[in-house]
């Protein structure tokens, strides 16, 4: 765990002024990086250098830097979030890289996620999918006691597994069809597993699926790249659950 060794890396980064501007890769050098730097802290170092030399820093989304807000979104060497299992870019540490490595950094690429600038994309389509039904229609106040309806532990745990999703968009970015199925299914499955969500289950799955397509996401053809890229380990079994819920909704 010595801090004495530092690394020098070559970064090849997607730069794009605006949504309609042509983008291109630019090459930068990251110097003085230790194994304890997080990936974003490494980019901070590069940006400080850029600012000092009067150049515009690389723009990227981030906020919590602890893997929970879902804001960070970079494709590293072709893999959304960089390929460490269950890890967001902000939690990726430089000990996973070697001195002299060359690293490609790109934004999410999906038709439904247009680029704002550099590595920042517009993910509002995910909000639109939730607005189509990712809730229970309870009012504020006037609800029963929390223990009035018992929820078997396996159901609560299953719902929680699905609810781990941080809405980052890596699943659509990883999918060859740019499908948002893993994201959509996580919410459908969470609410379908709970008694509180059952009343609206049929409407919900229909509306959310329809909206997903309207937003420009593709269909799922079982590549499972989404699950591999998902930083929260959201499982493709929820897609199967969504499909079952969808069939049920057609019958109802």
């Amino acid at each position: 765990m010595s801090d004495h060794k530092t690394m020098t890396l070559t970064l090849i980064v997607w730069r794009q002024k605006g949504p309609n501007a042509p983008g291109k890769f630019e090459t930068y050098t990251a110097k003085g990086i230790t194994e304890h730097h997080s990936f974003l802290e490494m980019l901070d170092v590069v940006n400080e250098d850029l600012i000092k030399s009067g150049k515009e820093p690389i723009v990227f989304d981030h906020d919590c830097r602890e893997g929970i807000c879902g804001m960070c979104s970079q494709v590293i060497n072709g893999v959304p979030h960089g390929g460490q299992e269950r890890t967001t870019v902000c939690q990726l540490h430089m000990r996973k890289f070697k001195d002299g490595d060359t690293i490609y950094i790109e934004p999410w690429r999906a038709k439904a996620f247009p680029i704002h600038k550099d590595l920042v994309v517009d993910r509002s389509a995910y909000d639109t999918i939730i607005q189509a039904g990712g809730y229970t229609s309870c009012h504020t106040g006037g609800v029963p006691d929390g223990n009035a309806v018992l929820i078997p532990k396996p159901d609560a745990d299953y719902a929680m597994d699905a609810a781990e999703c941080i809405g980052c968009g890596a699943c659509a970015a990883a999918c060859p069809n740019s499908s948002a199925m893993l994201f959509t299914s996580a919410k459908v499955a969470q609410l379908a597993a709970l008694p509180q969500g059952k009343a609206e289950a049929a409407e919900r799955v229909k509306n959310m699926l329809e909206t997903m397509q309207e937003c420009g996401f593709g269909n799922c053809s079982n590549h499972y790249e989404c699950q591999a890229a998902c930083p929260k380990g959201v499982n493709v079994k929820f897609i199967a659950k969504l499909n079952r819920e969808y069939l049920k909704s057609l019958a109802s």
């Binding site: 605006g18 230790t34 194994e35 304890h36 730097h37 997080s38 802290e41 901070d44 170092v45 400080e48 850029l50 600012i51 000092k52 009067g54 150049k55 515009e56 820093p57 989304d61 981030h62 906020d63 919590c64 830097r65 602890e66 893997g67 929970i68 807000c69 804001m71 269950r86 890890t87 939690q91 540490h93 704002h116 600038k117 993910r123 995910y126 909000d127 939730i130 607005q131 189509a132 990712g134 809730y135 229970t136 229609s137 009012h139 504020t140 106040g141 029963p144 006691d145 929390g146 223990n147 018992l150 078997p152 532990k153 609560a156 745990d157 929680m160 609810a163 781990e164 809405g167 509180q196």
Partner: protein, 638 residues
Amino acid sequence: MILDGKCPTGPIEKTWDKHRFDLKLVNPANKRKYTVIMVGTGLAGGAAAASLGELGYNVMAFCYQDSPRRAHSIAAQGGINAAKNYPNDGDSIYRLFYDTIKGGDFRAREADVWRLAQVSNNIIDQCVAQGVPFARDYSGYLDNRSFGGAQVSRTFYARGQTGQQLLLGAYSALSRQIKAGTVKMYNRREMLDLVVVDGVAKGITCRNLITGEIESYAADAVCLATGGYVNVFYLSTNAMGCSVTANWKAYKKGAFFANPCYTQIHPTCIPQAGDYQSKLTLMSESLRNDGRCWVPKKKEDLGKHPSEIPDEDRDYYLERKYPSFGNLAPRDIASRAAKEQCDDGRGVGPGGRGVYLDFSDSIKRLGESTIRERYGNLFEMYEKITDENGYKRPMRMYPAPHYSMGGLWVDYNLQSNIPGLFVLGEANFSVHGANRLGASALMQGLADGYFVIPYTIGGYLATVKPGTVTTANPEFKKSVEDVNGYANKLLSINGKKTVAEFMRELGGLMWENCGMARSKESLETNLKKIPALREEFWKNVKVTGTGAELNQDLENAGRTADFLEFGELLCRDAHHREESCGGHFRVEHQYEDGEAMRDDANFCYVGAWEYKGDGKEPELHKEPLKFENVHLAVRSYK
């Protein structure tokens, strides 16, 4: 001026019910004629926007992230308190009230805290109805754990991601209202000014962070739910974008800033590893349910692997000093105790700034799988950051800035001294006094949002005519000019130092001289150095790019400029408060055993500061605190 919190009087257990009844109502058909601005959509703002929209008001909601689902509430790990008493271990509304007043070191208002404890139970019901997957036991009932400063188990949780699940619950309610058209959501907007017309809050000025455009929004009332300000320390557990900006701009328009010196330093965070570090990561307090804090008794043992140090050579300092609360001593106390051990030269890890949090006894007792089930994601996070396995080797922890108890001053209705300006959640000062207990911030945010503001804002709106002011009012135009002028000034300096360099320097001063231990001298140092640093900033900062585009360097520059002003106010408040209470520890005021010494004769009040103009001293206003239900006493956890 003596401030009046407008608290209802009479028996405390009736105050909220009586007040609700006394509040004026807006008739249902008229609600849609009123527009409310909600700045911030974390737990407080998200819950409030959804609830107000559902009532029929016209809501405009704003956040700086790309989605309301990403507010910093998402990062809360451990849990949320409520007085349900499901475990039958002696909890009650009164006990939660009492613990919160005592936990806050007797520096909060009784009536506000009572209300919080009273509505805490409704929050759990609300979240369950939304589909929040709280932890359950095998019989299907809700499960509880313990948090610091309490001897009952009243904390509800969803793995180590309680904040995430609660926020996604509020976000889902908000999404439903967005779909219904009652709430219009403005993402990626940063509020940069409050617009006050004839002394009344009537709107805001925002920067569209994508296009850079400066936009005006008018409404009949403005709510700020913009979170806390501990990023003034630079390194903290807050998200990178958390700032004092919204609160500060309101302060400069006349809103009083209350108790800015009450900041919480959380005892268990991953120690800093290097200068490049951008933030500190919290390890939830819930870990202290099963982890034991210790340092070696003997300095000679510092170099040893922890497993080589036998039990008798370990100092379980919290259990030694506070036998009745042990490892679950409140945060301010646990943080100071950790610092004490490290100052004594017995801290572990790089620089001697760390204590162990050891799970080996619990693993022996319960098995690794139980510990994994309870805290798996926290252990995983610890390993990602430190490359060490917490199951095999005790974690290393050190205190870090975490939460701000201070905030804009509000009365019992959550209204600031500016009519029409309401403040919710961490952004206000109201319920935590000088120290917040664990799992009580989520409770406060949701209480304010779901169960307080929907009533109290009606009481105000019922007294004003809707839609009297539009963005055509000259105050809006002036505000846009000011905001544009400010940005242009920042962009034109073109100096030599980066924004991050200034922020690191400010954070260093704050942590060194106004952190866990403060003295007259250290604060006076800051009161000289911060203005000098600010002056240098305005001469020598380098901000790249232009205002008419997505420009994160400019965003950070604006936030840093505000912290450079606010930091001074924080130190001024700490300097004037010649006592120790909760998170505010003045080394001159302590008992022989090092415990904080309050001065109730002289400081039993809320200190609220009024802006008097740049370069002028702010004026202090006091709101005396009365304790009629809990006796003012020395706070002891021994």
